[in-house]
Subunit: 297 residues, 2 copies
């Protein structure tokens, strides 16, 4: 069978970029793979691992003769990368955690929204980092959300869908705005709450004991707070308004719960907790039946 | 070797009471075990499982000839149980998640703080419930916090310590007030935050998607929210002031984080997140080296 793509350019060869390269190589999805990274060691490691064929010394040279460009740099670095791409008929996608800002930046850089740009976000990850942790199966049984614009070229959308499906993932399409709302709720807010909890408790006088006697609740929170501080600071800024909206709703609900505790209103508390438990039990059974569990952001 | 205790009365034969009975039986810590429970099926099941010798039809009859009384009823039921105990020289302990209120109730019921009362709280649990889930090893490698009063009889304290150590747990002594502060932070607040998050998100219009695209963050929160609503409502009321104190500190810190997001102050965010990550990494390495991980409360 012919490879789906002739030449694929991966910009940013970390865990995600490296895992895409490793998976495409393993599945024979590309005739050749070229990568660029700001860190030359990542590139030489990628070549030593055999997951890429060529390295490029500039984003322009990596992307000029590619038929598929995959941007795997941090959210904050996307715009500067876009500015170095001479876009003609390449299909282009990305893996960033925030989508509206990326579309806006693409419009600013190119002066229009490129028809063959199909933004994406794999809902997968790992606690590991860097190209040395590259895993060809990282995306297997995970979901990838694609947010093509209204003017998107259908063959480009199909190409990006077949890339992810070739790596074993399930693709879903939605608007960039809806993606950002959903992710603000399921991922960004929980990370903000967890960081704040760990920082609040560890700055108190009992901090060693707090961690020693940590029960189920706090342990789960503290695991989340081990995530990369710079990445999350960037994500929160890039998805500012959806995050603030859901944070404000959450703080409002928390104030109601505070009143219930303060007035010892057990019935009201039981109603909220029962509703939460029922929703969790209901949705988690639906989710388990539809697909294996996702792991990270 | 002679059993440590002659006759042990277990009041409340659910998961915790049943696991204590099963463990004492397995380790030969008691010559005989008698149990009382409001639910007769729990008692007959306990006898069928062979983890207790006798059942009692009243708290008074179960406890009158015991040398050790272990109270394993919900926090809210403790006072009514204490009122039915004719206390002479029995050692008495409990397993409740809140300690100051229990000491206060004991003083109210007996008119003084009994010297041979040694309150306890095993930091262990399970997502399972009831005597049928009884596990003789539930407490192995877990911590048990004891909060004896200043007037406590030293031989009673030693007796309760040897009970838990006999079940494979590590005992630590601290004041009831300190216990309640630490648990408000490590267990009660995280549960309150998780319930509120799941309820906030599941009541929005995107709830199915929120659960479908749930990334690492939200999944960990939602697991916590599957806990028993009545039990947590009771715990929050019983430990009201320490919980409100730490909740208020948390909400204050959350407001600061909101300002950082709103003003796109990435440096300030990175500072908080890096501090949280460092604390988590530091304390979790200390904790792992000192003892196996606890699971739940």
């Amino acid at each position: 069978m012919e490879p789906e793509f002739n030449r694929v350019a991966i910009i940013g060869l970390g865990l995600i970029g490296g895992s895409i390269a490793a998976g495409m190589r393993q599945k024979g999805l590309a005739r050749s793979l070229v990568a660029w990274d700001a860190n030359e060691l990542s590139l030489s490691t990628g070549r030593d691992l055999g997951i890429i064929d060529d390295t490029a010394d500039s984003i322009a040279s990596a992307t000029s003769d590619a038929d598929l460009i995959i941007l795997c740099v941090p959210v904050k670095a996307m715009k500067a990368v876009l500015q170095q791409i001479d876009l003609s008929d390449q299909i282009m996608t990305d893996v960033g955690s925030v989508k509206s800002q990326f579309l806006k930046e693409a419009k600013e850089v190119f002066g229009y929204l490129p028809e063959r740009l199909v933004p994406g976000h794999p809902i997968a990850g790992s606690e590991r980092h860097g190209v040395t942790a590259a895993d060809p199966n990282l995306f297997a049984n995970h979901r990838v959300i694609l947010t093509p614009g209204d003017n998107a070229d259908l063959s480009a959308v199909a190409g990006v869908e077949s890339l992810w499906q070739g790596l074993g993932a399930q693709t879903i399409k939605m608007s960039a705005e809806h993606h950002d709302d959903v992710l603000a709720q399921t991922s960004h807010l929980p990370h903000l709450l967890a960081y704040t909890l760990v920082d609040t408790l560890s700055s108190g006088g009992d901090s060693l004991e707090v961690f020693q006697y940590a029960a189920g609740g706090f342990r789960d929170f503290s695991r989340i707070a081990a995530s990369d501080p710079t990445m999350w600071s960037d994500i929160f800024q890039a998805n500012k308004q959806p995050l603030l909206d859901i944070l404000d709703r959450y703080v409002g609900e928390l104030a109601k719960l505070r009143d219930m505790v303060s007035s010892e209103n057990g019935d009201a508390m039981k109603e909220v907790f029962s509703r939460a438990k029922a929703a969790r039990d209901h949705f988690s059974s639906i989710d388990r039946s539809s697909m294996d569990r996702s792991q990270d952001d």
